[in-house]
Symmetry: C2
Subunit: 381 residues, 2 copies
C-alpha cells in the first residue's frame, strides 16, 4: 500500500426511468439554465431527449441544446459548445449520451469559465474551475460518469489529449441500464474491452503486493467477461446490462488504483495514437494493442501475469492467460490485429511517433520511446 | 442488480504522517473553531493529540477539547459534548480515535445543530443537518470514517441504537496506518471480525445473482484474513496494517451493497443487544453471534454458503465454510461462545427480548422474533 487521496463526490442514481429525476436534481442544486449536450441520432430517435427536456421543463429549467458530438469528440466542436455556453450564460452542463458526449461536456464546462482557449487545459494548463456537470449515461464503457477525465481530439494536429481534474467530476450521474439495451453488440464489445483495459493498466504496471486492489480488479474483469457473454447471447438481458454498466463505472472511478502507488497507462497511450489518426473506436484500438503489449511486457512482471491467468481464466501460465484474453476478444468480435481495422504495417512508424508525443505530454516518455512502441505494434500485425 | 443511489463524498487522505494536514484541511474548508473529540489515554500518551493540536495551531484554528469517549460510546457523554459544542460555538467536530470516538463525534455534530435532545435522532427523528465532521482514525474496524452511521448506547435504557444519515459522512478522514501499529492484538482481531461481519450481512441476506458485489465482498474478506494473520505474527507489519485499514473502510462505505437490493443486519441486530447489556467489544460479540447465525440461516441460502466456502476457504460445503470461519475466529483469539465472555445460557431470554426491541426500531422485527433470536443464541452456548 502506498499513500493516496481518494475523493469521488459524484452522486450515482442507478435504475430504470431515473432520467426523470434530472430536473429535480438540477433545481435542487440551484440551477436554472443548462446547456444540454448530446450526440447524433440515437438520443433523439429513442425519445430520451424529449423525456429529459420534459423533466427540465417540470422544474422550470431553461435549456440550450447542443447536439452533434461525435465518437472521439473533436476540439472544433467543443469550441462551439464553449461559445454557446458563454453566450447563453448557462449555469451547468447536462450531458446525455455515452463517454464521448460526457467527455466533451466536461471540456465545455471547463472552457465556459475560462478566458483562455479550452485546448490550453489539454496541453498543460491546470484546470481551476468548471461549471457543474450532470450526466445521463447511455453507453457503458469509459467510466467518465464517475471520474474527472476528459479526452478530446484535435483533428488539425492529430493529437488526442486528456485532462484529469477534481473540477471535472460530475455532480450527479444518472445510470439507467435500460438505455443501454439497444447499444449495438460491436460497441458493447468495445465497452467491455475498454473497462478491462482501464483496470489492467494499474494491475500490471504497479509494484506487486497490493492484494486487495488485485482482487477488486479481478472481480471487475470476471464480471465484465460474464456479463458481456450474456449480452452477446441476449442483447436486452436486463440483469447483465445493469451489472455491466455499474462494473464499467467502477473500473475507472479511482477505486482500483487507490493505494497501489505509481503506475502507467501504456495501452491507452499507444491506443490514443491509433484512434487519433485512424478514428477507429477506442475499444477496438485497445483490443488490438492490449494482447501485443502484454506479450511484450510479460517478462517484466511474470508473477502478475501468472496470477491473471489463474484468477481470470483458471490457467497456469502467463502466456496462456494472454492468449485466453486475446481469444476472448476474438469471441466477442473485437479486432486483435491492425489489418482488421485497415491499418497497414507500414504505418507503424507514424503511429509510434504520434504515441511518443502523447507519452511526452503525459510525462512517461522515457518509458516508451517510439522504437519500443513500434516493437509492440509489430506484435499486432 | 437493483436500483440504488450511491453518494459518498468523504475525502480520504491515506498515508504516514498525514495527520499533519488536518489544520490545512480545516482552514481550507473555512473553519476557525473545532471541538476536538477523543477517548482516554492512548491518543494523549502517543503524542498524537499534541501533533494534532500543533497542526490546528499552525492554521490558527481554535480548539475546545473533549476527551473521555469510551468503547460503546454513551449517550450521557454525548450530551455533554453537545452542550460544549453549543457553548463554544464550534464550527466543526474533529474526531481523533477509533470507531467509538468517530461515532460519538457524529452524534455531537448532529446534536450541536438541534434544539431537540440528540437521542431523538437515534429513536426515529430524521437528521436534517450536522456540523461538518473531520476525523483522524487510529483503529481500523468500523468503517465510520467513510460512512454516515453512528451507534450510541443509552446506558439507562440498555438501548444501543444507530443513526444513518447523509449529513453524518465525514468531510475529510485522515488514515495513517502507522497509528494502528500499536493497536493490541485482541482489538485488531475484533476489528477483523467487524469488517467481515459488515460485508457478510448483505452477502448472505440479499437475493442471489449480483456477482460483482459478491466478488467485491470476497476480495475484502480474503484480504482481511490474509492481513490479520500477518499482523498477528508481526503487529507492526506496515504493509498488512495499511491494507487492513483501507479494507475495513471499504467494508462499510456503501460500495458492497450498492445494487444488491434489500438485505438485513441480523448479526448486528443480535450483537448490539449483547454488547448493549454486557459492554463487551462489538467485534467479540460478533464472533460469537456470526457462526451461530450462519448455522441457523444456512438452509435459507445454501447456494451462497457453498459459494462462500469455495471462494474464501477452498472448501466444498456450506457447513465446512462456516466451520472454517469459526475456527479462524478461534485462531485469532476472538470468542465464539457466550461463556467465553461470561454470559450464561440463562440470560439468553433477556438478550433476545432486548434484540427484538432493536429489530422493531430498525423495522425488521417481523423477521426475527425473540424466540428465533434465542434459538440462534442457543447455538452459541
Amino acid at each position: 500500500m502506498f499513500d493516496f487521496t481518494f475523493h469521488n463526490p459524484t452522486k450515482i442514481i442507478f435504475g430504470a426511468d431515473k432520467e426523470a429525476l434530472i430536473g429535480s436534481e438540477l433545481s435542487g442544486a440551484g440551477i436554472t439554465r443548462v446547456l444540454l449536450v448530446y450526440g447524433r441520432n440515437s438520443v433523439a430517435g429513442s425519445g430520451l431527449l424529449d423525456r429529459v427536456i420534459a423533466s427540465l421543463g417540470k422544474s422550470n429549467i431553461a435549456c440550450s441544446q447542443f447536439g452533434g458530438v461525435v465518437s472521439n469528440p473533436l476540439l472544433s466542436h467543443t469550441r462551439e459548445g464553449v461559445a454557446l455556453a458563454k453566450r447563453d450564460k448557462v449555469e451547468a452542463i447536462l450531458a446525455v449520451g455515452g463517454g464521448s458526449v460526457l467527455d466533451e461536456a466536461k471540456a465545455i464546462a471547463v472552457g465556459a469559465l475560462a478566458e483562455e482557449d479550452v485546448w490550453q487545459f489539454f496541453t498543460g494548463k491546470e484546470v481551476e474551475r468548471a461549471l457543474p456537470i450532470f450526466t445521463i449515461l447511455t453507453l457503458a464503457a469509459t467510466g467518465s460518469e464517475m471520474n474527472g477525465n476528459s479526452v478530446i481530439t484535435n483533428a488539425e494536429t492529430r493529437q488526442k489529449y486528456n485532462i484529469s481534474s477534481p473540477h471535472a467530476y460530475p455532480r450527479v450521474s444518472i445510470l439507467n441500464p435500460e438505455l443501454t439495451h439497444s447499444v449495438p453488440l460491436d460497441y458493447t464489445a468495445y465497452g467491455a474491452v475498454d473497462a478491462i483495459a482501464h483496470v489492467c493498466e494499474g494491475y500490471f504496471t504497479k509494484q506487486p503486493g497490493t492484494h486487495l486492489q488485485d482482487r477488486l480488479v479481478e472481480g471487475i474483469i470476471k464480471t465484465v467477461i460474464e456479463t458481456t457473454e450474456l449480452i452477446m447471447a441476449e442483447p436486452a438481458h436486463a440483469k447483465a446490462r445493469a451489472s455491466f454498466m455499474w462494473t464499467a463505472t467502477l473500473a475507472l472511478n479511482g477505486l482500483t488504483p487507490a493505494g497501489i502507488g505509481a503506475y502507467s497507462f501504456p495501452n491507452h497511450m499507444i491506443e490514443h495514437a491509433l484512434s487519433g489518426i485512424y478514428n477507429i473506436p477506442h475499444g477496438a484500438g485497445l483490443s488490438i494493442v492490449m494482447p501485443a503489449w502484454m506479450k511484450w511486457y510479460l517478462p517484466q512482471n511474470p508473477g502478475q501475469f501468472a496470477r491473471f491467468a489463474r484468477e481470470i481464466f483458471g490457467l497456469d501460465s502467463g502466456e496462456a492467460g494472454i492468449a485466453a484474453l486475446e481469444q476472448w476478444f476474438v469471441k466477442i468480435n473485437s479486432p486483435v490485429r491492425l489489418a482488421e481495422v485497415g491499418i497497414a504495417a507500414a504505418d507503424i512508424g507514424t503511429i509510434a511517433k504520434n504515441a511518443e508525443g502523447l507519452a511526452r505530454q503525459w510525462g512517461i516518455g522515457g518509458i516508451y520511446p517510439k522504437a519500443t512502441i513500434a516493437e509492440i505494434l509489430r506484435l499486432a500485425v
